[in-house]
Amino acid sequence: MDATEIGLWGVPLAILGGAIRVSTPFIFVSLGEAITERSGRINLGLEGTLVFGAMTAYAVAVMTGSPWLGLVAAAGAGLCFGLFHGWICKFRGVNDIAIGIALMLFGSGLAFFFGKAFIQPSAPDLPAIAFGGWSNIPQVQAALNVNVLFLIGAALAVFLWWAFRNTRAGLIVRVVGDSSDAARAIGLNPNTVRLLATGVGGALAGIGGAYLSLYYPGSWTERISSGQGLMAVALVIFARWNPLGCFAAALLFGGAGALGPALQSVGVTQGYYLFYAAPYILTLIIMIATSSPSRTLAGAPGELSITK
């Protein structure tokens, strides 16, 4: 595994591999958040959902021996968190952002509480498919070792993009997200739609968490998430609420996250810690570059509290 064998080519390769590996939780959380935000609500609690999902998946996988059951359990836990958020937010005067922050702390706290017992035992991993078999360079093989969840995430992004235009459910979510009045006028109950959209968003965030604990990094610790859940929210805005954009943005963030380790692996020994901060700096730069004091965001759902 000596990276210098292929020289500086290791850097883009490691970034590619990292993009695929690191981006998966981003993809799921941001797609979930895209659904929630398209329905006119913002759920900042997905960070907590992600951590709780990671713990649940790990615990269930340890106990049953099946990573897939862990995945389902994580999705179920995420669904509950999402539905809880959606249910509280239907009451008058409740602010979705404040509830989101409360649930973020609650989800993480609850995960730490239940997860203490699962820090030691090891759980089976989710399977990956080796697309790099044609090459005999270990770096290429490592980079192209793609987890099934990444592929599912990619397919889901395409499906959501199609579904927002071509299905009844997709149109209903967009109607509710853009105008509560219009939704009521055609006999829809915005609260119900948002409840379900927040639930689905939570379930997807739970799956993102399962990926963290069951594949990469692949174990349960209290520091398993480094703010992916929060960054995914920023990413949705950056992607203009477009599922395909979310996928691309997740890859970009994943790649940025892999920059630090990649530089370290080719022997850059100074300042690589700075590159560990790349995703965060990228978030900041993107938010600044895409905002403007004098205009509203193009494509923003009209009912979203942050864009009103």
């Binding site: 071509n166 299905t167 009844r168 967009r174 109607v175 853009d178 006999g187 004098s294 205009r295 009209g302």
Partner: protein, 510 residues
Amino acid sequence: MSGSIGKKAVGVETIGMTMRFGAFTALDDVSIKVPAGSFHALLGENGAGKSTLVKCMMGFYHPTAGDMLVDGREVAIASPKDASALGLGMVYQHFTLVPSLTGAENLVISREKVPGVIDWRKERAALAQFMQRMPFKLPLDVKVAELAAGEKQKLEIIKQLYLGRSFLVLDEPTSVLTPGEAQEVLGLVRDMTRTGDLTVLMISHKFHEVTAFADDITVLRKGRLTGTGKVSELSHKQMAAMMIGDQPIAALDSRAPVPAGARQVLTVKSLKAPDRTGLKTIDIGELDVKSGEIVGVAGISGNGQKEFLEVLAGQRARNGGDVLVKGSPYGASRSEARTLNVRFIPEEPLRNACAPKMTVAENMAFRTFDLNEAGKPVNWIRMSAIRDYAARLVEQFKVKTASLASPISSLSGGNVQRAVLARELTGEVDLLIVSNPCFGLDFSAVAEIRARIMKARNAGAAVLLMSEDLDELLELSDRIFVMSDGALVYETPIAQASVQTIGEHMAGHH
């Protein structure tokens, strides 16, 4: 079910419709009759009960008493769903289309039954076929947000027809349209009533529209039916009498001629600023307002008037250009407004010119609370002085309030506007900037507020009046500008002003 326009128009009647909210009677024993295929106008001031009546008819409210007949048969309408099943539909004053969806998406999703997966090729073909039988053509593949107001209003009507409705309530359908668009839309709707495809009940307060298009009218005042009859047999005066009863109406001061050597108070030169979307800029080439004249700015909402006003008020940064008041640059700071005597009455005063939860007295003192009698800044604020000052103004401007200590949000719209007017018009006023001052107010308040503005003009103030109500501009202005697409595109002295030409410029047809 998609667009069965073959369905014939239905007639609708209400009998003894009564609606009470607690102790308040919003609607008192109102019976109206709208025969099939007629164009019926419902007149009344704000709060007269017009919308309560139609909401009872459409199933949004459950009337305390009263019955509905559709085509002579008694029906029970418990929800808007029941109403639509009977073919009754409503077009709201504010658009209910979803801005980010295309016209086609809006139509399909509003249908009762939408398939889980939408086959757009099939839907598009069906829509094209449906549109062929429609009197107006519309692009269905662009986002609704990109349509002009007139097109949106047409799409709202088309949506109702697509859903198979044959009785339509139109709630002030032309308030967002240019005169030309209003003519076109109402004309098309009337043609459909003539052919027996549609029955229309239109809520309106524009007499000229009622006279031009409606067959019959019903007038409500304070929840009661005060008159009904054929439009052909009634004059505007008689309709107005039914609407407002015998309350006194403030008379407008006669217009004093603008003195020949009147000094120029407001000068705007090549002012540029980004608009709300940030994609376009507004560009005011040259505008001046002299002392003792009212300059009106006409335009359909969303053509940059709001942004222009915000720049003048200091709420929006400008990219370039000059705003001069009496020759000195004006940046809307508190001290500049004070020394140059600039006063400002924005639209929706409760939201834009008041702190809603602060008291009436405090709100009325916003301009002066930090000054003493000699006009010097003070360190300690005397509440008693604020109260005395407010009491004087309340008396003078006839603001109806329970007490000076009530929050200003508890006042009615007309009284909030009176309180703001009192604050802004007291003291020396050299420049008055006003926007939509009478929006949503009743007859007597409108007359009084217009009279106050005219009085300020005659006393030598330069007035810049922006309004979406062309009648208001024609009544008050000495000169009228038309704003379209962020620029002033037309100027006319009032003597030569024609609604036709102004309307064409508003629509951007020049």
